[in-house]
Amino acid sequence: MNGKAANIVLLVSGVLALSVDALAHHGAAAYNTQATVEVAGKVTQFEFVNPHVLIYMSVTGEDGSTTEWSGEITSPNRLARSERSTVRWSKDLLQIGDEIVLIGNPARNGAPSLRLLEVVDSDGRGLLGSDYWSERR
């Protein structure tokens, strides 16, 4: 994980090149699909379970306080087939303590939760292979 990106929450307006419906099997009403947020933190929990993969991570703010953020992606079956990702996901892909960046649509009510569009690992690799991340690099 690049230290410069740590603890930064960046709002980016506009619509991603990556199709939103590609990554989830239910609707997105709880999330603002017109906005994108990037959050850096350390993995605290990785649930590789149907119907949606859930990632939880601890984010340390500038004042030292920590907040638990979460994110959801499509089903593990689809990720394990590399159907919607360039990396072949598995239950061991993320480990507790891994430094990652979650990129996604924020919850409309301000909850620290994302509808994930990309997961960036500690090597800077976009695990979902989104155009958004590859064009950013």
Binding site: G27, A80, N109
Partner: protein, 249 residues
């Protein structure tokens, strides 16, 4: 080798080596066996995840009333998962033909008397009887309906009836009654693609037949486990998000 020869050679190999059809003759007009996934490129992205057509079907007053009461998670009227009354979120089967809208693969297995569709989504199995039998009259209405089929050349024509009225026709909340009748015409349009033309009739719900198409592509995947009851974890997650009270809004 010509294409028909290749197809029949494949059927022969399957007949010899597959334990399920080893001792049975293969009495069908085409080979659909294999794992199929929705061909996303062949469907308009705007609605492919939740509807067969972008336009709503012509609904009767009966259906319009129920449609107005439905709270789908997809489409222009979408609500968060915790607020939906979509029966699928209670882990009821999606029904036919809605099951085709869920973005998971299905495997087709053919025997001499049946075509089986094994859906990854909630491990549902459709049995389409092609042995000439009629529809059952002794069973209660069903979630996925009662399917019989016959070959018209290399097209499998499937009629499904005897539905209950508890499922939605698509993922945006279009209802149907127990008078739903679904006709599917299934055929290979290339070595890699399967086309399913669907006609949805329901005199109680729709004022005229409603027609849609789904295109599938052959994939080398396995159909994996997908159990709806695992939703328990996800619902807890959604609840955490929706009940969050420390936000700015």
């Amino acid at each position: 080798m010509s294409k028909p020869m290749i197809v029949w050679a494949a059927v022969y190999v399957a007949a010899v080596y597959s334990p399920t059809i080893q001792s049975q003759s293969v009495g069908h007009g085409a080979d659909f066996s294999g794992v199929w996934s929705q061909d996303r490129g062949a469907q308009p992205e705007r609605f492919r995840n939740y509807a067969f057509t972008e336009e709503l079907p012509p609904m009767t007053e009966w259906a319009q009333e129920r449609f107005d009461q439905s709270k789908p998670t997809f489409g222009p009227r979408n609500v968060p998962v915790l607020e939906t009354n979509d029966p699928v979120y209670e882990c009821f089967p999606p029904g036919t033909p809605r099951v085709y809208l869920h973005p998971f693969p299905m495997e087709i297995v053919q025997t001499s008397d049946r075509v089986l569709m094994v859906f990854e989504y909630d491990h549902l199995i459709r049995q389409i009887y092609i042995d000439g039998r009629g529809h059952r009259t002794d069973l209660a209405p069903m979630w996925m309906g009662d399917s019989t089929g016959h070959w018209e050349g290399d097209v499998l024509v499937v009629e499904t009836v005897n539905f209950n009225d508890k499922t939605w026709t698509d993922r945006r909340g279009v209802p149907h009654s127990d008078q739903l009748r679904v006709i599917e015409r299934i055929r290979r349009i290339s070595d890699e693609n399967l086309q399913i033309d669907i006609t949805i009739e329901d005199p109680v719900a729709f004022t005229e037949p409603w027609v849609g198409t789904r295109i599938y592509r052959a994939v080398d995947w396995d159909v994996e486990e997908f159990i709806c009851m695992d939703n328990v974890n996800f619902e807890a997650f959604e609840r955490e998000v929706l009940n969050y009270d420390g936000g700015v809004n």
